[in-house]
């Protein structure tokens, strides 16, 4: 019996359901103190004086520190993260990148509201908050820049002194000949299309607990992070510690969606304080801090020019876009380049010019959020499809089909280079067939017929489609160590740690298959830098592809070794042996067997060791899976909505998804990822936006103002699947973590425009809030 592909129940569930889970905030250590960050109230100001004396002298306060207290002891966060660019990509896109390293605490100037200025360490958070009231900060307010276009102007203040302008990063790339296409085409369309600033908002905020054992110099850090190894690396580097002496553990993590895929200043300074004060220190972020200072995302504005012919063929796209980074941009080109590489999606558009500017402003810094640049790209592309169709009075499906990459064109070379330096070549899939499947699922033709009648009765119902191709499973690597313990139990250790993706279940299914064991007899451990020497993390739809294949190959390697040992014991050639249900036996004589426990014993070093000559003793195998490049998932979303003309409220009546994630490891878990992803996408389409005023003050600092969809707003997503195996890894899997989130803004916006047609309403910006939509309906009706 094989377990991959089946709905095995989750191993994670028992502890999470019974209240026995362990998130960072659930942990206490003897003698633990709690930290609180005092954060900037100004978007841009000089710090003339910080008086901490009253706070320091308060009972129950251990320490109050500001930047000058650790000058020289703690380095700045480096200007960019791991995600640097390969040389061939640099040659191709000629990027300009200006470094902007980040201070752990603000020194003499603050550049966004929420920037940490001081830390109070006290007996508990109540006391720390009391003490915070006693800190006096003298700000001298400076003009703040909140508009990225303003930030790019010539005579404007430069936010980071060492930079020559506020454009922190920039690139250009092109393929084909756009100018020629423009000349030869029947029509041209110009639009500005925008995706607003949003926040990932995992329900668990960030949190860190650090203990230091001065006897052996070992620093132990628990952090709610997606990237334990990166956190370890920076702690050791910035605090000057031997990496081996730093252990970073992500225990249960309550969602991340990209927001926990970075090293934060708090992750450096809390460990520093636990060493300095020689006591455990914990910091748990509250929701207001989260909305203020956890990295945000998506803030892009595109100016597109599209050339197309009367039959709906899109001949070329030119797109210049601006990404408002906020105060820092540690991911440099990650999101903006993803947008560029993914913009044309499933479409064969030969002439393409795109340029991105990543601009610094006085807002919270940004990072990747589920989809990382792709929802932005898809919103642009699918609006283009809809606008072209509208201008030609064609059905959008006709325009989609006309421009779509045909199955016989696969593997399809898009003419670009991916972020990892490899060519963007879509590996497998059938896009027109996926679209057809989605249209059948949604009963598209029938809907179109009925829509006329319903509309003539005065209801505004509409249908909208979106599609995406997503590069998933990016490298550089992810590894697994698979080991038999002395009781014959199989353990798998991986470097990529979950925050809701069910690694313990799916990876044990993969492992179990190789050994003919029930997944119950396999234990998967992740989220601890002491488990395995190298690891990257869980983000960018990469877990199943990278960690999954690492477990798969490592298990195979160990299985081969076990057969070899059994061969020695049973004096039979390993090729005549079989492994099943914890036993190894000759194929011809199944009652003569050795158990996994026997094999574990026989593998111990020493005179009784039965490991064949030339192999190391022990029962363990390691494999690092290094993907040749990403593998391309794809999907189609169809939304059916009804708009209330009076209130501007959008009701999602139906939502359909067809997707291809290659080989499916556990259908229930895959469907769960899609359903949850769609819910986040619906949030972005209709509700979510971080709003700053002109002074850089965040106006949406609580859940009363930043609206996350609830059960009332999320429909049951009807799904169908395609299963085109990836050609780039042994299991044929593709990533599915982000796909659900990529398309909803485009599908829903197109559906809303379709519902309101023939009213001329352009929705090229999100979210489609009732007040905005009502206003646009009013304008359209009077003009």
């Amino acid at each position: 019996m094989t377990f991959t592909g089946k709905n095995i129940k989750r191993k994670e569930d028992y502890r999470l359901l019974s209240g026995n889970s362990q998130f960072v905030a659930d942990m206490q250590e003897p003698g633990m103190a709690e930290a609180l960050f005092v954060r900037s109230e100004h978007a841009h100001a000089k710090l003339n004086k910080i008086d901490i004396s009253k706070a320091e002298n308060m009972g129950g306060v251990y320490s109050v520190i500001i930047a000058e207290h650790f000058n020289g002891e703690v380095d700045q966060l480096p200007p960019h993260s791991e995600f640097t660019l390969p040389q061939n990509l640099i040659d191709e896109i000629n990027p300009i990148i200006q470094p902007c390293p980040e201070d752990i605490l603000a020194k003499d100037r603050v550049i966004y509201v929420g920037q940490p200025i001081a830390i109070i360490v006290a007996d508990n958070r109540y006391i720390a908050e009391d003490a915070a009231e006693l800190i006096e900060i003298e700000y001298e307010s400076l003009p703040s820049i909140t508009d990225p276009y303003k930030a790019m102007e010539q005579d404007v203040d430069i936010i980071h002194e060492q930079m020559s302008s506020n454009i922190q990063a920039q690139f250009d790339l092109s393929t084909g000949n756009y100018d020629q296409a423009l000349k030869d085409s029947d029509n041209v369309l110009k639009e500005r299309i925008k995706t607003p600033r949003v926040a990932a908002n995992p329900i668990e905020t960030r949190g860190i607990l650090s203990t230091y054992d001065s006897r052996n110099g070992k620093l132990q850090v628990w952090s709610s992070t997606q990237v334990t190894f990166m956190v370890r690396k920076y702690i050791s580097k910035l605090l000057g510690l031997v990496e081996h002496n730093v252990r970073v553990v992500a225990p249960d993590v309550g969602g991340g969606f990209g927001s926990k895929c970075a090293v934060y200043p708090e992750e450096i300074i809390i460990p520093y304080l636990s060493m300095k004060l020689d006591r455990p220190v914990r910091w748990i972020e509250d929701r207001m801090e989260h909305l203020l200072s956890t990295r945000q995302s998506r803030d892009q504005t595109h100016d597109v020019k599209v050339s197309y012919n009367n039959d709906g063929t899109i001949t070329g796209i030119q797109d210049y876009f601006v990404l408002d980074n906020g105060a820092y941009n540690p991911l440099v080109l990650t999101c903006s380049y993803n947008t560029a590489a993914h913009l044309r999606g499933v479409y064969d558009i030969p002439n393409f010019v795109i340029g991105g500017n990543c601009v610094v402003t006085n807002k919270a810094p940004t990072i990747a959020y589920r989809g990382a640049g792709r929802p932005e790209a898809v919103f642009v592309m699918d609006r283009i499809i809809h606008l072209v169709a509208t201008s030609l009075e064609l059905d959008p499906v006709e325009v989609m089909m006309k421009n779509m990459i045909k199955p016989e064109q696969l593997p399809y070379d898009s003419g670009l280079i991916y972020r990892d330096g490899e060519k963007v070549i879509y590996d497998s899939g059938d896009y027109p067939d996926g679209l057809k499947q989605a249209l059948e699922l949604a009963n598209y033709d029938k809907f179109r017929k009925e829509q006329k009648k319903v509309k003539s009765d005065g209801s505004y119902v509409g249908i909208g489609i979106s599609s995406y191709v997503e590069g998933t499973g990016i490298g550089p690597h992810e590894g697994a160590i698979v080991r038999l313990d002395s009781s014959g139990h199989v353990m798998a250790f991986v470097g990529s740690a979950p925050h809701g993706q069910s690694h313990e279940t799916t990876l044990s299914q993969i492992c179990a298959d190789e050994f003919g064991l029930d997944p119950e007899k396999v234990t998967v451990k992740a989220g601890d830098t002491d488990l395995i020497p190298y690891g990257v993390g869980t983000f960018a739809s990469r877990g199943a592809v990278t960690a999954g294949n690492a477990v798969h190959v490592a298990s195979k390697k160990l299985q081969e070794k076990l057969l070899a040992i059994a061969g020695e014991i049973l004096e039979i050639s390993p090729s005549d042996l079989e492994m099943n249900d914890g036993k190894v036996f000759p194929r011809a004589m199944q009652n003569k067997y050795v158990t996994l426990e026997d094999l574990a014993l026989a593998a111990k070093p020493g005179p009784k060791c039965k490991v064949p000559e030339g192999m190391e003793p022990g029962v363990e195998a390691t494999h690092y899976f290094v993907p040749p490049t990403v593998t391309y998932s794809s999907g189609y979303h169809v939304a059916i909505v009804e708009v209330d003309e009076e209130t501007g409220f959008v009701d999602i009546l139906k939502y359909y998804v067809v997707h291809d994630a290659g080989k499916v490891l556990n259908p229930k878990i895959v469907d769960g990822q899609i359903q949850g992803g769609v819910a986040q996408g619906i949030g972005a389409a209709l509700y979510e936006e971080l709003v700053y005023d002109d002074n850089g003050q965040l106006l949406t600092g609580t859940y009363m103002d930043y609206l996350i969809p609830t059960a009332m707003e999320i429909p049951d997503v009807e799904m169908d699947h395609q299963e085109f195996l990836s050609t780039r890894n042994p299991m044929g899997v593709k990533g599915v973590g982000e796909g659900g989130t990529i398309s909803p803004p485009a599908a829903i916006t197109n559906a809303v425009c379709d519902a309101l047609n023939p009213l001329d309403i352009k929705l090229n910006d999100l979210p489609i809030s009732p007040s905005k939509l009502r206003q646009r309906i009013k304008v359209a009706k009077t003009s």
Binding site: L17, Y126, A200, D252, D286, Q675, A711
Partner: protein, 163 residues
């Protein structure tokens, strides 16, 4: 300044000295080590901290510990049965993949426990409304809805068998 409170927590009588300003959520989590109750927003919107006080659902981040003096408090830790077996509701969550990261889960379980007491046979709209005060960022809710339906159905079946 502290006050003495006496509370029946998950069926066990507990007497403690607490500061009047101590939040009920912090009391449970930090003083009693009942960390199953989670904090997602601390301003009454996300529902992660939901517990039962005298059988009624409340947000423990919006109450003070001193307010539950003399009350019965039930947290997620009370749901599993004596032998550690999952309750039907918890089992339904597992059966329907109604949790991913599981951080919001205790709040949902307690909200639904309180809700089903008052409305054992709800329809879809009622269930949605009942859980609409709890935010989940992972699951997209529909599997939670399915889990609730599974328990209410099995309860109904039990009643029919009993009659």
């Amino acid at each position: 300044m502290t006050e003495t409170i006496s509370v029946l927590v998950n069926g066990k009588k507990i007497t403690s000295e607490v500061e009047p300003r101590l939040l009920l959520s912090d009391y449970l989590r930090e003083k009693l080590d009942l960390t199953g109750t989670h904090l997602g927003c601390e301003h009454g919107v996300c529902g992660a901290c939901t517990i039962l006080v005298n059988g009624r659902t409340v947000r423990s981040c919006l109450m003070l510990a001193v307010q539950v003096d003399g009350c019965e408090v039930d947290t997620v830790e009370s749901l599993t049965e004596g032998d550690g077996m999952l309750s039907p509701l918890q089992q339904a969550f597992a059966d329907n993949h109604a949790l991913q990261c599981g951080f919001c889960t205790p709040g949902f379980l307690m909200t639904i426990t309180g809700f089903l007491e008052n409305n054992p046979d709800p329809n879809d709209e009622e269930i949605k409304q009942a859980i609409s005060g709890n935010l989940c960022r992972c699951t997209g809710y529909t599997n939670i809805l399915k889990a609730v339906k599974q328990v209410s159905k099995s309860r109904k079946l039990k009643e029919v068998v009993k009659e």
